[in-house]
Symmetry: C2
Subunit: 96 residues, 2 copies
């Protein structure tokens, strides 16, 4: 199964913490505030627990994370409109 994480986080520090956590759990950035990747169910549960913990400590009522478990059908349905490619170089987002 695949995990899709999308988030609305206003604080820069908290947003960085969320994105680092997604990366540490093997997900790949697909947009500024979206991560996607294949995960075991147990790793996904761990990631969710970690994100809940971070949000309980630092989240405000304006912050929101949504997590989808995608099966192969939904994962493979992904359509991308746009010409750019977003990559990370030394931790910095670069459009190439």
């Amino acid at each position: 199964m695949f995990t899709l994480v999308i988030y609305d986080i206003s604080d820069d520090g908290l947003r960085l913490k969320i994105s680092e956590t997604c990366k540490n759990y093997g997900l790949m950035r697909i947009q500024k505030s979206a991560f996607l990747g294949r995960q075991t169910n147990s790793l996904r549960k761990e990631l969710m627990a970690k994100l809940r913990m971070i949000m309980a400590e630092e989240g405000t009522e304006r912050d929101n994370i949504q997590i989808f478990t995608l099966d192969s059908f939904s994962y493979n349905s992904r359509v991308i409109i746009g010409t750019f490619k977003l990559v990370e170089e030394k931790g910095v987002l670069v459009y190439v």
Copy 2:
């Protein structure tokens, strides 16, 4: 089937156009830059064609839209972390 649209759009005007289009095609805003809703396959195709047209005309290399077709399993898997509720009142986003 359900449609999930997530986008990275830098220009305010273009971003508004994208969100209005998603709304016009029956999707509901679930985050600042994410829409979700049940759609027939033909309506989803129409929406994609419309978004492609808008992006061809006004998109830059920094803009990016990603569209997922979610089956019931993936749709029902959605987990929300965060306490706020985002609603639209008279076209304005309000956190309640």
